[in-house]
C-alpha cells in the first residue's frame, strides 16, 4: 500500500469519524442538541482529530526511521570490515538499493510473482542484462552477495511498508474507537478538542526552534568531525585554499573570508547610497502618483530570483566590465570578478535597503518635519539634518541586514565571482567566497568522511555565525528604533 493511498484512507476515516461522532452525540441525547455540553460538531471534530493525528504522526515517524533501520541491518550483513568503513558501506548500500530498484522495475515490467523473484540467482541468470532491459544500467556484473542483499532489502522494505500500513491503520482505528466510546451527552467535547488543537498549535510554533536546533546540530556535528581531521588553527588562520582529491589539502578560511568581505563591501558601496536616495525620493519627494508606480517597480527587483541576477552577472555585467574597464586599464581579463559580483549583489540589495528605509523614514513623525519647515529649512535640509538623523538607527539596522544578505548570497557569486581563492586587492580579479566553496564542496560526488567535504560544514558554521551576529545586532537596533516612536 503506497503512502499516498494510506494517507487517503486515514483522511477518509477521519471524515467518517466526524459524522459518526456527531450523530452519536446527537443520538445520546435523543436528538436534542441543547442537552449536549458542546455543539455537535465538536464531537465529530474530536473523533476526527483522535483518528488522524496519531496515525499521521506514527506514519511520519515510521517513514523517517525505517530507512535507517534497514540500512543498518543490511550494512550489518556486509561483515564487520566493510560495516566499519563508512565509504565502503555507503558504496555497497548504493549498489544494493540500485539493484533493488532495478528488481522492482523488472517485476513490474515482466509481471513476475514474488516467488519467481525470490528464486532468481545472480550466478545463474543474467541479472545485469535483464536490468539493463528495464533501464537500470549497472557498472559491473552483479556480485551474488550484493544481489542476495538486494533481495533481502526488497523484502525488508516490503515488510516495513506492510507493517507501517497495518500499524497506521490500527492507530487510526484505535483513535476512532477510543474517541467514539467516550462520547456521551456530558462529554466536554469542545474543551477536549480545543486542548488537542492547542497542542498542535504549540507544536507548529516549535518547528521554528526545531529548525534552529537542526541547523546548529547538523553544522556542529560535522564541523567537529572536520576539526578532528584538520587542525582548527590551520582552518581559521590558513592563507591558502587548495583542496586536493588525494588528501594533503590546504583548507584555509582567510582567502574565502577576504573574498566574501571584499565583494560584500563593493555591493554595499553600490546599494547603500542608491537605496537610501531612492527611499528618500519615494518617501519625501515623489508625488503620490509617481510613488505609486515607482515603489512597486523597485520592489519588483526584490522578487526576481537571484539566479537571474547570476546569469546577468555572467553574461552581461562580467564581459562588459572586462572589455570596457578591466582590459583597457590593464587590470586583468577575467569576466568573473569581485566587481562583477559586487555590483550585481548591490543592485539586488537596492530594493531591500530602499523599502526598509522608506518605511523607517515614514515612521519619523510629521511634526518633526513641520518643526524644521517652520524654522525656514528647505526640504533637503530637513531631510539631511532632521529626518535622517532621527531615522539613523533604523537605517543602520537595514544596512546591517543587507550586509548579512550580501555575505550569505550564493548564486550571484557562484556565477559571477569566480572559483579561485585569492587574497588580492584588484577588484577586477576573480576571487571566491565562502558560499561558493560550500556549493562546490557539496555538489557532485561527495564523500562524507573526507575533510574536503566536511570543510563545507565548517564554512557553513562560519557563515552562520557571522550572519547571525549581524542579524541579531540589526534586529536589536531596529526593534529599539521602533520602540522609540511607538
Amino acid at each position: 500500500m503506497s503512502v499516498g493511498i494510506l494517507t487517503l484512507i486515514v483522511l477518509a476515516l477521519a471524515v467518517v469519524g466526524f459524522f459518526v461522532g456527531r450523530s452519536r452525540a446527537m443520538s445520546s441525547v435523543g436528538g436534542d442538541a441543547r442537552k449536549l455540553h458542546s455543539l455537535p460538531g465538536y464531537y465529530g471534530q474530536t473523533v476526527s482529530l483522535f483518528t488522524a493525528v496519531p496515525a499521521f504522526a506514527l506514519m511520519a515517524l515510521w517513514l523517517f526511521v525505517q530507512p535507517m533501520v534497514i540500512d543498518a541491518r543490511i550494512v550489518g550483513q556486509l561483515g564487520p570490515q566493510i560495516a566499519e568503513d563508512a565509504t565502503a558501506s555507503k558504496l555497497a548500500m548504493e549498489d544494493v538499493s540500485r539493484i533493488a530498484s532495478g528488481l522492482d522495475a523488472l517485476q513490474a515490467a515482466r509481471g513476475m510473482t514474488n516467488e519467481e523473484m525470490r528464486d532468481m540467482r545472480a550466478d545463474f541468470s543474467d541479472i545485469r542484462g535483464r536490468l539493463a532491459e528495464v533501464g537500470v544500467a549497472l557498472g559491473s556484473e552483479v556480485n551474488p552477495q550484493i544481489f542476495e542483499m538486494a533481495k533481502d532489502y526488497r523484502i525488508m522494505q516490503a515488510r516495513g511498508a506492510m507493517m507501517m500500513s497495518v500499524l497506521v491503520l490500527a492507530a487510526a482505528a484505535a483513535g476512532f474507537v477510543v474517541a467514539l466510546r467516550r462520547i456521551h451527552g456530558e462529554f466536554r467535547a469542545r474543551n477536549v478538542s480545543e486542548t488537542f488543537v492547542r497542542w498542535l498549535l504549540i507544536a507548529s510554533a516549535g518547528v521554528a526552534i526545531l529548525t534552529t536546533i537542526g541547523i546548529v546540530m547538523s553544522l556542529m556535528s560535522e564541523t567537529i568531525r572536520f576539526f578532528g581531521m584538520y587542525p582548527i588553527a590551520d582552518f581559521f588562520l590558513g592563507f591558502t585554499w587548495n583542496p586536493q582529491f588525494r588528501g594533503g589539502s590546504d583548507l584555509g578560511l582567510i582567502p574565502l573570508l577576504w573574498g566574501t568581505l571584499y565583494i560584500s563591501f563593493v555591493s554595499m558601496v553600490v546599494a547603500v547610497p542608491i537605496g537610501i536616495f531612492a527611499a528618500i525620493y519615494t518617501a519625501e519627494y515623489a508625488p503620490p502618483k509617481v510613488r505609486a508606480v515607482v515603489k512597486p517597480v523597485i520592489e519588483l527587483i526584490a522578487g526576481i530570483p537571484t539566479v537571474v541576477f547570476g546569469l546577468f552577472a555572467l553574461v552581461t555585467v562580467g564581459p562588459f566590465l572586462r572589455d570596457y574597464i578591466a582590459m583597457p586599464l590593464g587590470l586583468g581579463n577575467s569576466g568573473s570578478s569581485v566587481m562583477t559580483a559586487g555590483l550585481v549583489i548591490g543592485v539586488l540589495n537596492i530594493p531591500f535597503i530602499s523599502s526598509l528605509t522608506d518605511d523607517i523614514i515614514n515612521a519619523v513623525p510629521q511634526s518633526m518635519r513641520d518643526g524644521s519647515y517652520g524654522l525656514g529649512a528647505t526640504k533637503s535640509e530637513t531631510i539631511r539634518k532632521v529626518v535622517l538623523p532621527a531615522a539613523l538607527p533604523g537605517i543602520v539596522g537595514a544596512i546591517l541586514l543587507a550586509a548579512s544578505r550580501a555575505i550569505g548570497e550564493t548564486m550571484i557569486v557562484t556565477m559571477g565571482a569566480g572559483a579561485a581563492a585569492k587574497l588580492g586587492l584588484n577588484p577586477f580579479e576573480a576571487m571566491t567566497t565562502i558560499t561558493v566553496k560550500i556549493v562546490s564542496q557539496l555538489t557532485g560526488d561527495i564523500a562524507f568522511d573526507a575533510p574536503e567535504t566536511l570543510v563545507a560544514f565548517a564554512l557553513g558554521m562560519t557563515l552562520f555565525v557571522i550572519t547571525l551576529c549581524l542579524n541579531i545586532f540589526a534586529l536589536w537596533i531596529v526593534r529599539k528604533y521602533r520602540e522609540q516612536y511607538e
Partner: protein, 453 residues
C-alpha cells in the same frame, strides 16, 4: 551676511531679512543644494530602474529565441530491413534496434530528398548533410515508430531539429567565421542551410519541446527542454504549500492569540526573525545533513526540496501571517468573547476568516520567493542531470529525481556551449512567467476575499 546677524541682545528691531521677492545669495546656494539633493534622488531611482530594464532586456533578447528552433521537414521512408529485421512487427523485437539504425534512415532520407529537390552545394559530403540533423531526431523517430509499428515500411513526414550550430546560425549566434574554426559545423553546411531555408525545407518553428522535453546532454542543446524542471518545481511548490500553510497558520495563531508572555515565547519570536535572515545556503546544508544523510531520503527528490524550502520560507510566512492576524481589530475579538465564544472559537470563526486574504497573500508571496531559490537545491542534488520525468505523485513521484526551474537555469548557464545561454535565458523567461502568475494569483485572491469582508 554681516547685516543678517544680530550683533547684540539689545539690537534694534531686526529688519534684517530684506525683501521676500528677491533671494539672498545664501538662499540661492541653499536652493541649489536643494535641487542637487532632489536630483540625487531621481538619479538613484533612474539607476535602479535602468538596471532592471537592462537586465530584463538582455534576458529577453537572449532568451526569446529558445522558443523557436530551426526545423527541417522531409519525408522519411522507414526501412523495414533496418527497424524490423525479423519482420514480425513485434514491438519487443523492434525495440532492440537502437537509435543508430534510425539515424541512418534519417540521414539517407535527407540526402536523397535534397538530391531530388535539386538542393546541392558543391563539395558537400553526405556525412556533412547527415550531421546537420540533430542527434535527438533519431530517438524521437524511434519512439514514434515503436508507438505505432504500422509505420514500418511507409514513408512519413518528419520534423527534425537541425543541430545546435545550424540553429545558432539562423539566430545570429554562429557566423561563417566562427564556423570555419568550429569543428562541429562547416561553412558548407551553412550554405546548405541557406538553400534549404529558401526552398522551405527548413523553417523556424515554435518549439514546444523546449517547455515539455527533459534536459539533454552537452552535445544536444537543441533538444534540451524544461519538462522535468517544470514538473519538479510544480511538485515542490505543491508540497511546500501543503506543508507551510497549516504549520505557518498554526504557529502564527499560537504566537498571536494564545502564547503567554514568557521566556519561551520570546525565544520563539527571536528565533523566527533570525531564521528569516539566515542565508538560504545554510538551509541547503541542513537538508543535506538531515534529510539525505541522516534520514536517508533520496537526493534530487522534490520531497526533500520541498522540505528544505518549507523550513526556509516558514519564518517569512509566519511573519506575514502574524501581521495579517494582528491587523484584525481587537474589537472583533472582544465582541466574540463577549457573547461567550471560547478563545478558539473566536479565532476560528472571526479572526481567521478576516485574516485569510492577508494570510493567503503572504503564503503565496513566500512560495513565489521559494520558487526562485537555487542555492539550497544545489546541495540536495537537484542539479543532477535528469532525463526521466518523475512519476505521478500517487506513484511516489515526490521521491523520483527531478530538477527545478531555477536550478536548470544555473546548470545550463554553467555549460560551455553558448547555445545553452540561450536556453538558460529562455528558462528564466518561463520562470518569470511562473512567478508572475503566482503574484497575480496572490493579488486576485486578496481582492476576491477583501470584497467579501
Amino acid at each position: 551676511m554681516t547685516d543678517i546677524s544680530p550683533t547684540s541682545a539689545d539690537a534694534p528691531k531686526p529688519k534684517a531679512h530684506g525683501s521676500l521677492l528677491e533671494a539672498t545669495p545664501l538662499m540661492k546656494r541653499r536652493n541649489a543644494a536643494e535641487k542637487r539633493f532632489h536630483a540625487y534622488g531621481i538619479a538613484a531611482i533612474v539607476v535602479a530602474l535602468l538596471t532592471l530594464t537592462v537586465m530584463l532586456f538582455t534576458i529577453i533578447r537572449d532568451g526569446h529565441s529558445a522558443f523557436y528552433q530551426a526545423t527541417m521537414t522531409f519525408p522519411v521512408t522507414i526501412d523495414a530491413a533496418v527497424v524490423d529485421k525479423t519482420g514480425s512487427g513485434d514491438v519487443a523485437e523492434m525495440s532492440k534496434v537502437t537509435t543508430i539504425g534510425y539515424a541512418r534512415i534519417l540521414g539517407e532520407s535527407l540526402v536523397k530528398y535534397l538530391a531530388d529537390e535539386g538542393l546541392v552545394v558543391e563539395g558537400m559530403t553526405d556525412k556533412e548533410i547527415t550531421d546537420m540533423i540533430s542527434k535527438d531526431a533519431p530517438a524521437r523517430l524511434r519512439d514514434r515508430v515503436l508507438a505505432d509499428p504500422s509505420l514500418v515500411g511507409q514513408t512519413v513526414t518528419v520534423d527534425a531539429f537541425t543541430g545546435g550550430r545550424v540553429d545558432g546560425y539562423f539566430k545570429g549566434r554562429v557566423t561563417r567565421e566562427i564556423a570555419e574554426r568550429d569543428s562541429n559545423v562547416t561553412v558548407t553546411q551553412l550554405d546548405m542551410a541557406d538553400l534549404m531555408e529558401e526552398a522551405g525545407v527548413l523553417r523556424s518553428k515554435f518549439n514546444w519541446s523546449f517547455i515539455t522535453a527533459p534536459d539533454a546532454s552537452d552535445l544536444r542543446p537543441e533538444a534540451a527542454g524544461l519538462g522535468v524542471a517544470l514538473l519538479g518545481t510544480l511538485y515542490m511548490m505543491l508540497l511546500t504549500f501543503i506543508f507551510t500553510l497549516p504549520i505557518g497558520v498554526a504557529a502564527s495563531i499560537y504566537l498571536e492569540e494564545f502564547a503567554p508572555k514568557n521566556r519561551l515565547t520570546d525565544l520563539i519570536e527571536v528565533n523566527i526573525s533570525n531564521l528569516a535572515a539566515v542565508p538560504s545556503i545554510v538551509y541547503g546544508i541542513l537538508g543535506l545533513a538531515i534529510f539525505i544523510n541522516f534520514a536517508g531520503l533520496p537526493s534530487s527528490a522534490p520531497l526533500v526540496g520541498a522540505l528544505v524550502l518549507t523550513l526556509m520560507t516558514l519564518p517569512t510566512i509566519i511573519i506575514a501571517t502574524r501581521a495579517a492576524i494582528r491587523a484584525v481589530p481587537p474589537s472583533i475579538r472582544d465582541a466574540a468573547l463577549g457573547v461567550g465564544a471560547s478563545k478558539m472559537q473566536t479565532v476560528v470563526h472571526h479572526v481567521l476568516p478576516l485574516a485569510a486574504p492577508g494570510i493567503l497573500t503572504g503564503t503565496i508571496l513566500g512560495l513565489a520567493s521559494a520558487a526562485g531559490e537555487t542555492g539550497p537545491l544545489l546541495l540536495i542534488g537537484m542539479v543532477a542531470f535528469v532525463t526521466n520525468y518523475p512519476a505521478s505523485p500517487l506513484d511516489g513521484g515526490f521521491l523520483d529525481p527531478a530538477s527545478a526551474l531555477p536550478v536548470q537555469v544555473y546548470s545550463w548557464a554553467s555549460r560551455s556551449d553558448p547555445a545553452f545561454i540561450e536556453r538558460s535565458s529562455g528558462a528564466i523567461i518561463v520562470l518569470l512567467i511562473f512567478l508572475f502568475f503566482m503574484n497575480a494569483l496572490a493579488i486576485v485572491l486578496r481582492r476576491r476575499f477583501e470584497r467579501r469582508w
